[in-house]
Symmetry: C2
Subunit: 135 residues, 2 copies
DNA sequence: CGTTTAATTAACCATGTGGTTAATTTCCCA
DNA sequence: TGGGAAATTAACCACATGGTTAATTAAACG
């Protein structure tokens, strides 16, 4: 029954966290954010350090805007962009859950936990001598 | 001369930070990481909570592995996965640069900086054929 | 041996992405 | 009133992604 999975997969907007991470997954867009952290800027200003065309920058800005990472206003024919902090805050909050994993002597926390769990061989290793669900 | 841009654009592996953010930009993969934070697991174990096929999970694991977010070993026919902390640490370090933007009374830091810069109209208004000074 | 279990590979599909050039919109101003 | 600057839209291209089903590899076991 592929109907439902297709309905679910296509045209589904990304959840906010996914949209944020996706927007951050491009060096041009990260550079744009870095520039905006120094103050608002117009599109041509933002495009200036890059070797790409204006439309390409416009597309990057759209991605950033959809992710809520920038807001845009109008000022005559300029569309100044500004950094918006909320998604960065949320992304940081998500990463914080894993802080213990990269910090200090807990770099090997996985080891520790795995050992705690005892042998528990990887997968569903229950011998299941009895007739298992055939499927 | 589109030759060079094509050479640059295509088949270029992502820089590590981009690969990490791209890998995090999917709820399934984030759920897999959350599961792995509780200890190593096999592919079928990881796939169990999801409604997708095994091959789909295998693909997600490949993305995570390429980003260095997981490591894999062999154990008979199982391929246990474990969380690897380094990329999470690096992603967090990148986000830290922006902490001031989402913290406390600095939520409006952009405002502050923009004001500091004075009028400095948005774009490269360096032409300035005549004293514009709008607004 | 053959069967079962674990997992990957292959082939396919629809859509998203990151770039291009060319055309178009929108606004200021002489 | 019309030119020019800022920016977006349109149409296109080459992959990448996230999913599917079917086939295949690899190891354990009876």
């Amino acid at each position: 029954m592929w109907l439902i999975s297709h309905l679910v997969n296509y045209a589904m907007p990304l959840d906010p966290l996914s949209a944020t991470f996706a927007a951050l997954a491009d060096p041009t867009r990260r550079a744009i954010l870095a520039r905006l952290s120094k103050g608002e800027a117009s599109v041509t200003e933002l495009a200036q350090p890059f070797e790409m065309s204006l439309p390409a920058v416009t597309k990057h800005l759209k991605v950033l805007e959809r992710a809520g990472l920038i807001t845009r206003s109008r000022e005559a024919q300029w569309r100044p962009c500004r950094l918006a902090p909320k998604p960065l805050k949320d992304a940081n909050a998500w990463l914080e859950h894993y802080r213990e994993f990269w910090e200090g002597s807990f770099d090997r926390l996985e080891d520790y936990l795995a050992d705690l769990q005892g042998q528990k061989r990887p997968a569903r290793a229950r011998k299941a001598p009895t007739p298992k669900k055939p499927k």
